[in-house]
Symmetry: C2
Subunit: 192 residues, 2 copies
Amino acid sequence: MKRRDADDTRRRIFEAATAEFGAHGIAGARIDRIAAAAGANKQLIYAYFGNKRELFDTVVSGHLARLLDEAPFDPTDLPAHAASIFDHYIRHPELARLGAWHALDPAEAGHRIAALESVIKARTAAVKHAQRAGKISDTIPAADLLAMVANLASMWAVPTQEWSPPGGITPAQARRHRAALLEAVRRLVEPA
Amino acid sequence: MKRRDADDTRRRIFEAATAEFGAHGIAGARIDRIAAAAGANKQLIYAYFGNKRELFDTVVSGHLARLLDEAPFDPTDLPAHAASIFDHYIRHPELARLGAWHALDPAEAGHRIAALESVIKARTAAVKHAQRAGKISDTIPAADLLAMVANLASMWAVPTQEWSPPGGITPAQARRHRAALLEAVRRLVEPA
């Protein structure tokens, strides 16, 4: 197979796997359906990506890399960072859905995704540094502050339906949620 | 069947359904397994609770009723309210897990649980009232503020594993998360 064809096949598998894992989770995902949707051979999926869990890891890591690329992180401006995560999730809710399945599935309990772990570690250190330098408040410990910002920024990507009107979140509501998020994170970091 | 026996059977079905839905979600739950775990007849489950979705509704509504009973709500003291939700979830993570499945499952998209919807509606009105009376800040709209508090209070009940050390959250970490939560919610509602 030519290099360009192989890249194209990998991309189609990645997209089909994103849709399958996003809808059905890890336990519920079927490699057969991913193969059919991608128009690819099942054996080729195993050859390219390994087993189902390895494929899930690759898919999560790929979406995480895109988030890191699109949502700039500046520990001294966490409101802007939160807004950029929020904007990313409005366009691409996939990563938030995949993360939620990953947290829920009992079979995932001991499974830690290396790419996610290393981002959290680096960012916690950066927030701690900004706190020590007095750039942002330190009344909330760095790790908790970062987890709160990530949570508040992603909560409308996989919303519990009772929190929104039937039919889902409209663009006008998304703007209001975004403004509320900016204000909330500003309050979390402002000097006491 | 005597009344007391029937109550006991219902209780066993409720508990078995909680475990089954919590581990496998709605799509993945099997009525056969619930029947086996409860030592009850499958037909009896349908007779008592209706179909799988109705059983799920009853289970969520039952756990919600317990949360409402255990976690007092005072719109003028949202930090204490958040801490009481947090404490409840440390003891009973079931409702947080059930809610997460409910939000994730594509088949649940149009399905709104009445008990949950009415609590959100009543509490949003109460928060709005407290804001208008000047008891708490109104720079974050009531509905967003309530959703943020609920989210922050439950985020450690179904945590993404990479946010915590391997082995899960220790009692000492839970105390630190609780203190951080109190401080965060205090910041969200304090007059500007």
